[in-house]
């Protein structure tokens, strides 16, 4: 008797508690995600859907004038991924190892390291834009005052330095994240391994290379996959600083910016190309999904059990 009334109360709870969550996810995530795939296969006139288009949108994405934009943006995404991977991973591990070595005041340095991660990219972008202002910005002031006037460049305004500068700003904002992940990876390593190696006379450098680094593999997997996803969906920072056209002259254009322009129109033209935009969206989704999937599979294999 008691058991059955309990059951009905539980059944009520199951329905009552799951429905809002499931309905929200279904309506605002699942359905849009599935329809976005279909959008790429239809003709579009503004925001009005026309007939079935087959692979026409994909063909147009790969022909003039979109092909050039696409290849340039893709190239930028790849460059950014490689640069961020090398810089953020190496600096992140260096900071993590330094924090790991610290006995006192670890909390202070950890808090400082992670601080920029909580910043909005809008604030970060504008802050650095002013810091890097070619004439009045403090950074060029310092460079000039030190006597390197030729190096006081319009960092964000010139074709050759804009993208590397964006990568630097991204690094400033994000490196605390991999650092903290690697630190928790280091903390998870069984101290007995390290003690044993020390007794056997291994140097600190050998201990790091032969024991700690291989055991950091799980952290490395997570950071690599997150960096890959982040690099191929890179939007906020380039948009805040270079606008939707990836200024100067497309030097900071990315696939996500191009997707945004095609979907909602750019600064100079309000015309949008939903079909082509969606086909680009599908491509980004495939790149991110397949890349992250393969990466995770390959990297997992290198992980060793403790």
């Amino acid at each position: 008797m008691a058991a059955s009334s309990l059951k009905s109360e539980q059944r009520k709870f199951i329905v009552l508690f799951l429905t809002p969550a499931l309905a929200t996810i279904l309506v605002f995530t699942t359905i849009p995600a599935l329809t976005t795939l279909s959008y790429a296969f239809f003709k579009w006139d503004g925001f009005v859907r026309g007939g079935f288009a087959g692979f026409e949108n994909f063909k147009r994405l790969f022909s003039f004038p979109f092909r050039g934009q696409f290849l340039l943006a893709l190239q930028h995404n790849i460059l950014v991924f490689v640069a961020v991977m090398i810089l953020q991973t190496s600096i992140g591990i260096l900071i993590a190892y330094s924090l790991f070595q610290l006995k006192r005041r670890q909390r202070f340095f950890r808090t400082v390291t992670f601080l920029p991660v909580i910043f909005s990219l809008v604030v970060v972008g504008y802050m650095w834009q002013v810091l890097l202002d070619p004439y009045y910005g403090p950074i060029n002031r310092v460079i000039t005052n030190l006597g390197f006037e030729s190096l006081a460049k319009p960092w964000l305004g010139s074709m050759s330095t804009a993208l590397p500068t964006l990568v630097f700003i991204n690094l400033w904002r994000w490196v605390g994240f991999p650092a903290i992940i690697f630190l928790s990876g280091l903390n998870a390593i069984n101290q007995e391994f390290i003690e044993a190696a020390r007794i056997d006379g291994a140097s600190e450098g050998q201990i790091f290379r032969k024991i700690m680094f291989p055991l950091l593999a799980p952290s490395m997997t997570i950071i690599s996959v997150l960096t890959f996803i982040g690099a191929f969906e890179w939007f906020d920072l380039p948009f805040v600083i270079g606008g939707s056209n990836g200024n100067p002259a497309g030097a900071t254009d990315t696939l996500a910016l191009m997707f945004y322009r095609l979907s909602f129109g750019s600064v100079d033209s309000n015309a949008n190309e939903i079909g082509i935009g969606s086909s680009l969206g599908v491509l980004i989704f495939v790149i991110v999904g397949v890349g992250a999937g393969i990466g995770q599979h390959l990297l997992r294999k290198r992980e060793v059990d403790q």
């Binding site: 359905i31 959008y39 330094s98 950890r110 809008v122 403090p138 994240f177 939903i274």
Partner: protein, 275 residues
């Protein structure tokens, strides 16, 4: 011995340099917010010994800053409440009840984590338009909720599952109803999970500007980060006011972070750290 000391010094130096790199721009931001714009041209570095509070006054009165700030509080707060309520309910049911379809529903929730919101933005835009939820805070709150819920449910169900089942049987034997069991016995025990979910969801929502950029058009609806882009265009030559605006947008989170840094770090790295 000497080698050990140099390596110790080296790693200490890394941390100090890193701290300087982080703190200098932030300090410059705050310091500049308290200086007159005219004084920048002569020296961008001098300390604001006589704070020029008028910058903040101007931000508050001129820009629609107060509105932006209020909107951000409404959107972030609203989303957070819905996310927490849904995640507690769904986490409880999925973490504690064994019923047919539990694993299937859990799997469905997890698929939500695979979809990057940015790529589903076009159908979402048209769908919100059709539902009359474009340019509305409710529409934005629903989209944020849907984006954050999969991870939130995942985290909460993990916390609920980790509690001993004996708690439930003991409470039921003592005559507690299911809602009493949840409210009085389990809820206090999953509080650390709630903190993680709250931070994990609220920070990206407060900081986001992409969804407001696409979904909100009227000036009176804009959120703070989106409003900053308007503001930055308006005051591009008035650095003092500009920095005051950036400071006001960033300060609430920084203050919270300095008090709750451990929870922030745990919350924002949740999902990336095993165990």
């Amino acid at each position: 011995m000497i080698a050990a000391l140099t390596s110790k010094l080296f790693f200490r130096a890394i941390l100090v340099i890193n701290a300087i790199m982080v703190i200098t721009p932030v300090f410059f931001l705050f310091n500049s917010a308290l200086r007159e714009t005219n004084s920048f041209a002569s020296n961008p570095f001098s300390l604001a010994r006589h704070p020029y509070w008028q910058n903040f006054q101007q931000v508050w009165s001129d820009g629609e800053f107060a509105t932006y700030l209020k909107n951000s509080i409404v959107v972030t707060g609203g989303s957070l409440i819905v996310i927490l309520v849904c995640a507690i309910g769904a986490g409880f049911v999925l973490g504690r009840y064994q019923f047919k379809g539990n694993a299937l529903i859990f799997g469905f929730v997890l698929t939500g984590m695979l979809v990057p919101a940015k790529l589903a933005i076009l159908p979402l835009f048209l769908q919100l338009k059709w539902m009359n939820l474009l340019d509305s805070h409710i529409g934005l709150i629903l989209v944020y909720t849907s984006g954050a819920l999969p991870a939130a449910v995942f985290i909460m169900s993990g916390f609920f599952r980790s509690l001993p089942m004996d708690l439930d049987s003991a409470a039921r034997i003592d005559g507690a109803s299911e809602s009493q069991l949840l409210r009085l016995i389990l809820m206090p025990l999953v509080r650390p999970g709630l903190a993680i979910v709250a931070i994990y969801s609220a920070i990206p929502i407060w900081n986001d500007f992409f969804l407001p950029l696409v979904f909100l058009q009227s000036p009176e609806n804009k959120t703070i980060m989106q409003g900053l882009t308007v503001f930055f265009g308006q005051y591009s030559s008035q650095w003092g006011v500009l920095f005051a605006g950036l400071t006001m947008a960033a300060l609430p989170l920084i203050a919270l972070y300095l008090v709750l840094s451990e929870q922030f770090i745990k919350g924002l790295t949740a999902g990336a750290v095993k165990g």
